[in-house]
């Protein structure tokens, strides 16, 4: 691959070619996805472990843009056990948000498509729904009902022209058509109380602009949890909030998890939030999982060069008076991924094999997995 010319540059003729090809491809995929009469056997499978809520198995989500295919998520594998909190951490553009959007199937279609692998969602009795193959109609049944999501910017995810009460009601009306109007309202007020809104009757009749950032995020959580989902995805839930409000929201999420018993996936770039909230951590780089393990594995025994670099580069209580050790280089261009390990252009201990081949995932302990050739090398040398 020649690096001399600008890697983002593409001629108009080439771009037209790509877009014609992509249109054909996405049209086929869309047709398949919108096919409501699909045989349920095609998208029902069994869970590998019935103790999990969701199993990601080699998931690939690509964006077919006019300047080339962006492999935003390329072979991601991890499990979310019941009642657990899983953190997905990485830089911007590493595919952490796209992973969670693949589970919700809220990708920008038709450009974004989950093209490979399986996302198994536990629907009880050891049975699983394969979200990758499930038709849109089936997805609408579980989205917001059994899988829900809260977003980074609560102002843009609430509708400014509807009252708070109406917006929370909407979730219940959609998924529980059997509930009467009074029941829906009672349930909404109950939810608002649950998320710590003192003035619930007042807030029920307010518009989103009348609330502060922290209150809006509480409303979002109430909306997401109204149907008692099995899993809650929080995509950078506190990035737009102040530290003291962030502490309130994190505390609330932990409390609600204890009360309602759902699993949580937290997607964030803040290692501090991850350390204080998560049982299990997935570290992503360049659309792939570099390392996964328990919080202690990742913070005290990191086994991937990227994780090590990331931990060295943030100020913490230990290195307060020392210099930070930054990760050199710049984040990768997702249009032009290297052939081997995605991190190798920025890695200090890159070897020849890192340039040639993608690292395989190696088991370090029962809970701890990492994809780095260094581990393979160390294992061979018997370290």
């Amino acid at each position: 691959m020649s690096k001399k010319h600008d890697s983002d540059y593409i001629s108009a003729k080439k771009s037209r070619q790509i877009s014609r090809f992509n249109r054909k491809l996405t049209k086929k995929l869309e047709k398949e996805r919108n096919d409501a009469s699909k045989d349920p056997a095609l998208y029902t499978t069994t869970m590998k472990d019935p103790g999990n809520v969701v199993e990601f198995d080699n998931v690939c989500t690509y964006f077919f843009t006019d300047i080339g295919t962006v492999k935003a998520v390329d072979g991601v594998t991890f499990n979310v056990p019941k009642r657990a909190t899983v953190g997905v951490v990485g830089e911007s553009g590493c595919g952490k948000s796209v992973t969670s959007l693949s589970l919700m199937q809220l990708l920008q279609r038709p450009t974004g498509q989950t093209v490979g692998g399986e996302i198994r969602f536990n629907i009880g009795d050891g049975k699983a729904l394969n979200i990758v193959k499930a038709p849109t109609a089936k997805m609408q049944e579980i989205r917001g009902n059994r899988v829900s999501m809260i977003f980074q910017e609560p102002m843009t995810s609430l509708n400014p022209v509807f009252r708070i009460g109406q917006q929370v009601n909407e979730v219940l009306e959609l998924h529980h058509p059997e509930m009467s109007e009074e029941e829906v309202k009672a349930r909404t007020l109950e939810m608002l109380e649950l998320v710590g809104i003192a003035n619930k009757e007042g807030v029920y009749n307010m518009y989103p602009h009348e609330l502060s950032g922290g209150m809006r995020q509480r409303v979002m959580i109430a909306m997401a949890l109204a149907c008692e989902p099995d899993i809650l995805i929080a995509d950078e839930p506190t990035t737009a909030l102040d530290v003291t409000i962030q502490a309130q929201i994190l505390e609330l999420m932990q409390d609600l998890q204890k009360k309602l018993g759902m699993a949580i996936i937290i997607v964030t770039h803040d290692l501090g939030v991850i350390a204080s909230m998560c049982d299990e951590i997935i570290v992503m780089y360049g659309g792939r999982v570099c390392e996964r393990g328990t919080a202690d594995d990742i913070f005290y025994r990191p086994a991937h060069e990227y994780t090590k670099g990331l931990l060295r580069s943030i100020p913490s209580t230990q290195n307060m008076n020392e210099r930070l050790i930054p990760i050199g280089g710049t984040p990768i261009n997702m249009l032009d991924l290297p052939k081997g390990c995605a991190f190798c252009p920025r890695c200090d201990s890159a070897m020849k094999i890192c340039l040639r081949e993608q690292p395989v995932e190696m088991e370090i302990s029962d809970t701890h997995h990492a994809s780095c050739w260094m581990n393979v090398k160390n294992a061979k040398e018997g370290k």
């Binding site: 003291t244 502490a247 309130q248 770039h269 919080a295 209580t317 930070l324 710049t330």
Partner: protein, 347 residues
């Protein structure tokens, strides 16, 4: 009053904005209310607080990008601004028999010669660079304004020198800002601030728009430049870990008022003000062991609107220790030994 030990001295700085509220009426928004601090040459003062507490306004008013409402700003022994108000030793405004403040001499100087010595780095590296100028022109503009270069060759050499200083390649000079990543753009902004050899730079959230792995590069660069050039920084940020790492001393603000000011290690190990305590306990520490063992002091409620500020101490509505006295009068910022200043009645 002018103490030569300090490079920058700010006393009783006030900045009120008037906000229109209905027909012809306007009420003052006290963005910064009676803030005093000083910075030594080559020192970094961190300024932290939640959004809307007035920390950016302090930085901008200090450089007189906003006209101050009151107070006194001294830079390197020269008074840049003085509203003439006088204060007694307890920090109370001196008033005459009619309740009007006693006014001394007013001072307001032309800032242009001082801009050579005080510069600013902005928060958003995407909107603070002119998209129609090449990097060479962006960095060279302060040189033109202050007429520091005799000819274009000299200007070009200086620009190259600056680009090298902040870690940009010489071939980047003819490019436009959109061709750079966030970290590189922030470097351009820093090179522009350094162009005139300033003694003091106001850094307004310079790393908060950057990715985690890039943040460390920029933080290190700030530290290296300080070592090499001896500049003093006012480092405004909301990330307490970064501020603690870079600063010699830290000032904590809440709703336009200064709450605590101390040496950065002292402030972290031994915070006295209840607001600082809860702020520090709310910071998520990237260490699972510490996170499990520490107890968060979670503050109730939200920050009150700065338009309807509580009387007395602005923090009393969320404070665990609030008493009658807190509602009546704002506590003065008092030295508790070793330069640890706290504004609280009860602690």
């Amino acid at each position: 009053m002018a103490n030569s030990e300090y490079l920058v001295q700010v006393e009783h700085l006030k900045e009120y904005f008037s906000v229109r509220s209905g027909f012809g009426k306007s009420i003052p928004l006290k963005a910064v209310d009676d803030v005093s601090f000083s910075i030594r040459p080559g020192e970094t003062l961190g300024l932290v607080g939640e959004s809307g507490c007035g920390k950016t306004t302090v930085g901008r008013t200090l450089l007189q990008l906003y006209k101050p409402t009151g107070g006194r700003i001294t830079f390197d022994g020269d008074v840049l601004y003085d509203s003439g108000e006088q204060y007694d030793e307890n920090g109370r405004l001196k008033v005459d028999a009619n309740g009007k403040p006693v006014l001394g001499k007013k001072v307001s100087v032309n800032m242009l010669p001082y801009r050579k010595q005080m510069q600013m780095v902005f928060q958003d590296p995407y909107s603070s660079l002119n998209p129609r100028m090449t990097v060479e022109d962006i960095i060279g503009e302060p040189l033109d304004v202050h007429k520091l270069c005799k000819n274009s060759k000299e200007r070009r050499d200086r620009v190259m020198e600056l680009m090298e200083l902040v870690g940009l390649n010489a071939e980047h000079a003819m490019r436009y800002p959109h061709e750079f990543s966030g970290g590189q753009r922030q470097r351009i902004g820093i090179a522009r601030a350094l162009a005139v050899n300033p003694k003091f730079i106001v850094c307004d959230e310079p790393v908060s728009a950057l990715d985690v792995s890039i943040q460390a590069q920029v933080v290190n660069m700030f530290e290296d430049l300080q070592e090499k050039l001896g500049v003093a920084y006012l480092f405004i940020a909301h990330d307490l870990l970064v501020v603690h790492h870079i600063s010699d001393r830290i000032a904590v603000m809440y709703l336009g008022k200064m709450m605590e000011l101390a040496d950065s290690d002292e402030l972290n190990d031994n915070p006295i003000h209840p607001y600082t305590q809860s702020l520090l306990s709310a910071v998520p520490i990237p260490d699972p062991e510490t996170a499990r063992n520490s107890k968060r002091i979670v503050l109730e409620g939200d920050v009150p609107s700065p338009l309807h500020m509580p009387s007395g101490c602005p923090f009393r509505t969320r404070c665990r220790y609030a008493t009658e006295q807190c509602a009546q009068e704002m506590p003065p910022l008092k030295d508790r030994g070793n330069g640890h200043y706290v504004a609280c009645w009860n602690k």
